[in-house]
Point group: C2
Chain length 289, copies 2
């Protein structure tokens, strides 16, 4: 687990290497680092990170499976502290070109692939730490990107929604040991659907379709999306994330709002997200961890 | 909970009323009753039960929400013992035409609708028992339709599949309190998807699609569908059911087989199911309860 955010942040060494997957978050993290006087160096992952946006930052391209080359580049750039951020579709073993260092450590990598995605990322993280680097989390380097406690929307959850939130958290707690279900949709006390390997956007699309097909009969504007980290999840590598697209999905699914764990959830593009939530009168609430 | 099958069966009073929803099972139950010297009277639910097949049996049509009329017909036919069997899409309160007796008991019915489907069926069951009837289960009247313990297929689960089965049962146990997830798909130790209100066929179709889209990279012929009753589920009203269509879904999802709880799962059209399983070398196993 990541150390306490404040204490860890005080010893972050500049520059910080940002291992950058897909989506907007790597750039938000880089911006946040720069705003706090820490130099970011991006290490965009080929095939995942946006090549256009990465041009705004100092960067060196890396590839999955090329750990030896990546560690050489981290050292060349003077990055001891590394943060991994962004989306990464789980690669197929047969599609990866391994370099010599990676092949030497292949036993570990293979073991990492056998478990869930958490184990994969933790496994790579361990290899990097054996190489003398330190894996830090968003909590350590850019805590301003995390959801605060309380409502960030104008709308607040009704008592009905509060009960749905409680039930959703209970389901996610029960599923904690199984590396599935970072999110769940609860409507009027009914657990309607559990997130699977498709992720939250697909979960919400499924709920929207069930509503269209009349399988969900509750009125529009009832029900919640509840998201929480899996228990045992290494929060340095894989924090739950919400953003404007999540809220669009919540609106299409006819729900009342979204509840996440404060401090353990990334709020991507918060301004756009809040604007959308307020326009649709959806609530966005951070729950105590 | 239903009483022990043998002791209850010994006091079943002929004729037995079969409240018949959709699908083939009501007719299988009626056939099984007749084969054991008990006269079945079908009470097909309008909009759910097949009007053509019901003609083979003595029957009186009934409607959801017309409990008064239904109880009168049960009495006219001399049916003290009632069994509910078949599929029933959860009706909308506003679509139901209630009779006077039902309106008198409406408080109970509304309460029944607020919970999950289990509560709905249990609620109606309680009303019928207050009316002097006895709700019995398939275990009591047609235990020959239930999955036995052990493999009914030629194929047996591999050690890999056995581990997936264990994990699947653990997930279903964890979800027990939440009225969701009567089935789960586990592949190589990964919990891939949990059944939601769409049911098992839709779950398997989802897994088949995830395979097509390359989101599941495991080889075909790996992974299991595990089905179990929800904890607290009233097994008189809602037993998990498998049949040929389930096996077709398992084949399309590229799984190795299916594991269910022996004695607590209906095997619909077992001959066709086993023939299909053996043709595709899929296993079908009944686990100890």
């Amino acid at each position: 687990m990541a150390a306490d955010a404040t204490s860890a942040a005080s010893v972050i060494s500049s520059p910080v290497g940002v291992i950058a997957g897909g989506g907007a978050m790597p750039f938000a993290v880089a911006d946040s680092l720069a705003a706090h006087g820490i130099t970011p160096v991006l290490f965009p992952l080929r095939g995942a990170c946006d090549p256009a946006r990465v041009e705004e930052f100092r960067h060196r391209w890396i590839s999955v499976g090329q750990l030896g080359r990546a560690m050489r580049l981290f050292r060349e750039e003077g990055c001891r502290d590394l943060v991994f951020i962004g989306t990464l579709v789980r690669p197929s073993l047969t599609e990866i070109r391994f370099d010599v260092t990676t092949l030497r450590l292949l036993g570990n990598v293979i073991r990492a692939f056998r478990g869930g995605d958490d184990h994969l990322l933790s496994g790579v993280g361990r290899i990097l730490e054996q190489g003398g680097f330190r894996m830090v989390g968003i909590k350590d380097v850019a805590p301003d990107l995390l959801m605060p406690e309380g409502c960030i929307s104008r709308a607040w959850p009704s008592d009905n929604s509060k009960a749905d939130i409680e039930r959703g958290r209970a389901v996610l707690t029960a599923l904690g040991p199984f590396d599935i279900g970072q999110a769940v949709v609860v409507i009027d006390g009914h657990v309607v659907a559990v997130e699977d390997i498709e992720g939250t956007d697909a979960l919400l699309a499924r709920v929207a379709r069930l509503r269209e097909e009349g399988r969900i009969r509750a009125a529009t504007g009832r029900g919640v999306l509840v998201k929480a980290p899996k228990s045992g999840q290494d929060l340095r590598f894989d924090l739950p994330t919400i953003g404007p697209r999540t809220l669009e999905g919540v609106a299409k699914a006819g729900l009342a709002g979204i509840a996440v764990v404060a401090g353990n959830t990334i709020a991507a593009e918060p301004q756009a997200m809040i604007a959308f939530a307020d326009a649709k009168y959806l609530f966005v609430i951070g729950l105590p961890a």
